[in-house]
Symmetry: D2
């Protein structure tokens, strides 16, 4: 059976780092820091905007910045042998219970305040 | 043709929000803020550790926290109609050029300092 | 009576922005985003270090980066007319109760887990 | 000569940690992580708001959250023997040159784009 696109990319990231002998730097605390730094770069695209939209001069950068966040997310998942997509599927089931449509429709409150 | 696992989850997230009429809150600036808040929760698992490993009492939380980050990453990708996996594939090609194995092997410097 | 150094700097920041007519951009959400972006730049100085120390090539940047965080902290305090030093004094009194020396000595746990 | 309010609080924080023997946990990387986590808690007060104002149910929390950020800022300054207020004074002089009133008035661009 063929790997799907997500599995292929997980493998290619693992190979990329192995070939460069970078695992020595990749203790998980550093991976978590990098994840945060890249998430900040996404946020930076919205700095000083007044309409809650992305800075129009920076709209072409969003795909690349989101990809950077996913990169570190996969690195952390690889480190802990986590099935990231499976974890999100599990989470969506939990969220469906926490936020039943009847209660949560049109409301932005946290489930504990619903 | 069948959707693969990643596409299925992207669709299920879209449905989840549509059913709850949440798109009104999901301006992209708020999505970027949520992405950062969830990335912080990943980092929090490493707070005060001295060995760069995750706090052992919190190791069982990492999969769920990584899933939360992926959730907002997919929400932002959906908002901008970005093919997130494709963007990461593109990025990996760029990274391979920025960090040639010969130059980057065993070195943690940024490509501009290699 | 003369203003002390902290009050002087709070005033000078207010003047700096008034002269540039920047208050129109300084809605508090944007200030909070800038606070986070500057805090990230502090964290970036520690990226990839394995000994928990600052990257030695970047040690001369730390004072400037910390000053940037304080700048946004004062901007937010000015916006809400908060006496920031007074708020920290109040917090220290609360912390002294949350973390009594007897219980907290040599322990890094959160007060709820002490 | 009497210490001013800022110096008093810097000293009281130093004493607070010494009495609890907490310096062992306070390697600077952990301090920088805590600074970021507290900055996130400030940002969280603005999550899901559509008018760029603070969530009104959380307005009474802002002073306390800003104080938490200042706490870690002072901890980092203490660690590196940095005169934080002096560093900000220096920064303000640099900013005055980077953003001359004539050029920067009413414009939110970064100085490199002015």
């Amino acid at each position: 059976m063929n790997d799907d696109k997500y599995k292929k990319i997980v493998k290619s990231i693992r190979n990329f780092c192995d070939e460069r002998d970078w695992s020595q730097f990749h203790d998980p605390k550093n991976l978590a820091i990098s994840l945060n730094l890249e998430a900040s770069e996404v946020l930076e695209l919205f700095q000083w905007t007044l309409d809650n939209k992305i800075n129009p001069e920076k709209e072409n950068e969003i795909a690349s910045e989101l990809a950077d966040v996913l990169y570190w997310l996969i690195m952390l998942s690889n480190h802990y042998n986590i099935d990231l997509l499976g974890a999100l599927e599990d989470k969506m089931k939990i969220n469906a219970k926490k936020y039943p449509i009847k209660k949560a429709k049109g409301i932005s409150k946290k489930y504990t305040d619903l």
